[in-house]
Amino acid sequence: MVTMRREYLHPLPVRIWHWVHGIAIIILVLTGIQIRVPDFFTWFGTFKSAVKIHNIFGFVVLFDYLLWLGFYLVTKQLIRQYVPTIKDYTIGVPSQAAYYFARFFLGDQPPFEPTREEKFNSLQKTTYFGIMFVLVPLQIITGVLLWDLERFHTIVELLGGVRIVDAFHIIMAYVFASFLIVHLYLSSLGHTFFSHHKAMILGYEEREIAEAEPE
């Protein structure tokens, strides 16, 4: 017999943070494209207005990031949820990769079921750790530096000049865009197509549990 069980995965602050962050990143990517290729794209009006919007949403991400960091620090979940352990690398990552690349297609059960205490599988943990602890902070820092070159020129000089800072910012922007594509796709790999989306909106993830028939 199959029963449905609801698992409360995402508390409200996390959900709010996620959607604010998501929308801001999408806008940053789009304005970023216009700033980089101004001859082709005029989605946000003039070049100047694109820069303005880019700056505004850059700060949205900055504050949103601080909100996220604060929440996880206060709830003392940061390390448990986000920092991969050795076990994650030796067992978790290979089995999760094998699931995504082969066993998923055969309809096998996922090797990992998220719980409130441990939301991410090893692969997610590894990725999100890189994103949230390396990429996002770096992108925020380089972004802030580029926002006001005159003010931060000593730091920029120290880092090797505008070209270096700018190069990092652009390469990472491409990485974010690429991540966004994969992230959107993988979000449909739940029990049903929309189960992860629902969870991200409602907080609960429904999943079926095969219970042993009473003898």
């Binding site: 199959v2 700033i35 980089r36 290729v37 101004p38 001859d39 082709f40 003039t46 070049f47 100047k48 303005k52 700056n55 995504y100 690349f101 998923f104 297609f105 055969l106 309809g107 096998d108 580029l146 926002w147 006001d148 070159l149 005159e150 003010r151 020129h153 920029v156 000089e157 000049g161 505008v162 070209r163 800072v165 700018d166 190069a167 652009i170 390469i171 922007a173 491409y174 990485v175 865009a177 690429s178 991540f179 594509i181 994969v182 796709y185 095969a210």
Partner: protein, 663 residues
């Protein structure tokens, strides 16, 4: 005594004294004789058509004519008793009979020592002009001493060289030492362009190509023949395609493009000033021919007649009218009226200040001028020359000043646009070569002059100006009238308005308050500061290849040299511009207050459409736009994963359904 004049006088005398009635009788008589006893050319040629006549002794010749003892022989110049009849038949006089000119001959044999031929009967106007000339009055030359009437070619069909040949039968080139650019004048002008001030002149173009030795040669009919296919072998028809008898600029451009396709080496139009209709009153009078402004000014008469000359099948030349617009394509000849508007002219630099040898033009017109020497620029431009002499440019190319700069059209450096400044270098250097390494190549070319990078010692600065930005992002620099209209003032003193505390220095507050005021008044459009980075004071010590020029940090750092010199350009009444130094804090305002809309100088700047085209074509030259190449790789990797995974996911839907049911 001038025989021709004497002859003319007799003629006039007869005309005046004998009444018309009397004139009629001999005329009829003459006509009657002419008709009934006309001597055919063949009869003359029996003796004069063979060179044997030249070998005869005087006695032998005398036997052939009716002796006229005592009659003096007239001058014959270079004419001989032998007439090359083949030559005569191609001459302009071919339809005439010998006796039409040699009218003394009524029967054969003719009298010994014939009188002079009277050219006036046909060429009355020319003779009248000629008689006024020094040629006739002083040297007393006769028509046929310059022109051989037996082989005369129509003037229009004579090349410049042929025409000069007529004068140079007697005159050597030696003189003219006073003449600036003597060789250049000789190369392009025939003698009478200067020596016949009243002659009708025109600007003649002809097609030239690069010869084997690198010199330019005029294209012959043989070389052009294949391009006349479909036009009956007629070049004029091949060029003037619409057949309106006027060669338009696009028509000649098209033809030259065809020549290029047809492997003619760098074909182009070359021009020469030619005399269209000669005027036989020559002069060597200083007051006429040494007047340089006869040609060197914008209303020079030859600009009225612009023609194209092309070779024809028969080895001659065909002339067709050309659209005057072609003149715009020519480098202007240094003209005096234009010169006076240049910075040299305005600052009172006279011709003789540079052309030191020209003093003679001002001293009682004597002829004692030395060879023209190279003008000495360092007389005034001492510092520039000292710097330039040590530069690689001078050491390697040995270019002298006017290899790059035309002193006759000099414009103050400040007033040259970036494009004009670049044009000086681009004359010899191709910017597309050697800049492959440069990121955002076209963007750099669009905004920067060459010396921004290639003259590290030049003084650079950031120049601000007021501009209007339209709704669609169009930028338009505001001139004095625009600003007066915006401010609703009749003749505002913009300098005073901007520099409100009058300290000769613009604080950012002063600029921002004016911007605010202008924006309130403008309502529709945004008024802000336009900005460009310019060389303020050039340095003539240019870098060699692969040196400092590749140092991006010269500009792309907050310590870039040009930040130390900020200048505001303020339009003044008329077309003048005042500049005032500007407070550096205006730069800090760039992000917080939208002062400038396009000052995005630093960093890996934006990509233009052209860059994307470049990226596609030059993608193999990696190292160029590497950021985006790597970035696009990331994107493709992401998309690749998603699409492959998605595809397998769709293909395996059945498998999953079955396993689900089985569970």
């Amino acid at each position: 005594m001038n025989i021709m004049r004497c002859d003319l006088r007799t003629f006039r005398f007869a005309r005046c004294l004998i009444a018309p009635l009397f004139l009629l009788l001999p005329s009829f008589l003459f006509l009657w004789v002419g008709v009934s006893f006309s001597i055919e050319n063949e009869e003359c040629l029996e003796c004069h058509g063979t060179r044997d006549i030249l070998k005869m002794s005087n006695e032998e010749r005398l036997e052939m004519v009716i002796p006229t003892p005592g009659k003096r022989e007239v001058r014959k110049g270079k004419l001989t008793l032998f007439v090359d009849y083949e030559g005569f038949r191609t001459s302009v006089h071919k339809s005439l009979k010998c006796v039409d000119c040699h009218s003394e001959i009524a029967e054969l044999p003719h009298p010994q020592r014939m009188g002079i031929v009277n050219c006036t009967r046909c060429h009355k106007e020319i003779v009248e002009h000629y008689e006024e000339s020094k040629h006739a009055k002083v040297s007393k030359r006769l028509c046929f001493e310059c022109h051989n009437p037996h082989t005369t070619t129509p003037f229009r069909r004579l090349s410049m060289k042929d025409r000069m040949g007529i004068c140079r039968q007697c005159h050597k080139e030696d003189g003219h030492r006073w003449l600036p650019q003597r060789e250049l004048h000789f190369r392009f002008l025939e003698c009478t362009v200067c020596h016949a001030p009243k002659a009708e002149k025109g600007l003649y173009f002809h097609l030239t190509a690069e010869g084997g030795d690198g010199k330019r040669i005029t294209l012959s009919y043989k070389e052009l023949k294949e391009f006349t296919r479909g036009y009956e072998g007629n070049l004029v028809k091949a060029i003037d395609r619409n057949g309106n008898g006027n060669v338009e600029v696009h028509e000649i451009n098209r033809f030259i493009a065809k020549l290029k396709e047809g492997k003619v080496r760098s074909p182009r139009l070359d021009a020469e000033v030619l005399v269209l209709r000669p005027y036989h009153n020559y002069t060597d009078e200083v007051k006429h021919i040494k007047d340089c402004t006869m040609c060197h000014f914008k209303d020079a008469p030859f600009y009225d007649q612009v023609m194209l000359r092309v070779p024809d099948e028969r080895g001659g030349l065909q002339t067709v009218r050309m659209d005057k617009a072609i003149i715009g394509k020519l480098p202007p000849i240094p003209s005096k009226d234009y010169y006076l508007t240049t910075i040299h002219g305005k600052s009172g630099v006279e011709c003789i200040d540079c052309h030191a040898d020209l003093t003679i033009l001002r001293e009682a017109e004597e002829f004692k001028v030395k060879e023209m020497k190279t003008p000495v620029c360092e007389k005034c431009h001492e510092k520039v020359m000292a710097e330039y002499k040590n530069s690689t440019h001078h050491k390697v190319s040995e270019k002298i000043c006017f290899g790059c700069h035309d002193p006759h059209s000099s414009v103050p450096f400040k007033e040259l646009s970036v494009e004009q400044r670049k044009a000086i270098c681009v004359k010899c250097h191709d910017p597309q070569r050697g800049h492959e390494w440069l990121p955002q190549k076209e963007l750099h070319f669009k905004y920067l002059e060459c010396t921004m990078c290639h003259a590290p010692q030049a003084e650079k600065g950031v120049v601000f100006y007021l501009q209007r930005v339209g709704k669609k992002g169009t930028e338009e620099r505001l001139n004095y009238e625009d600003l007066a209209q915006l401010l609703e003032m009749k003749s505002p003193d913009l300098v005073k308005l901007l520099d409100s505390n009058g300290n000769g220095f613009l604080e950012d507050k002063e600029v921002l308050s004016i911007l605010q005021l202008l924006n309130v008044k403008s309502r529709r459009d945004t008024i802000n500061l336009g900005v460009k980075v310019l060389v303020l004071k050039p340095s003539h010590n240019y870098t060699a290849k692969d040196t400092k020029a590749k140092d991006c940090s010269l500009c792309h750092s907050s310590g870039a040299g040009f930040y130390s010199k900020l200048i505001m350009e303020i339009p003044e009444h008329g077309s003048g511009i005042r500049t005032l130094p500007l407070d550096k804090s205006i730069l800090a305002g760039i992000h917080r207050i939208p002062v400038t809309s396009d000052f995005y100088l630093l960093g890996e700047s934006r990509i233009s459409k052209r860059d994307i085209a470049d990226l596609i074509f030059v993608v193999r030259k990696i190292g160029y736009k590497w950021l985006d190449i790597i970035g696009i790789f990331f994107l493709l990797a992401g998309l690749g994963f998603v699409s492959i995974h998605g595809l397998i996911r769709i293909l395996t839907i059945g498998i999953r359904k079955r396993s689900h049911k089985g569970r």
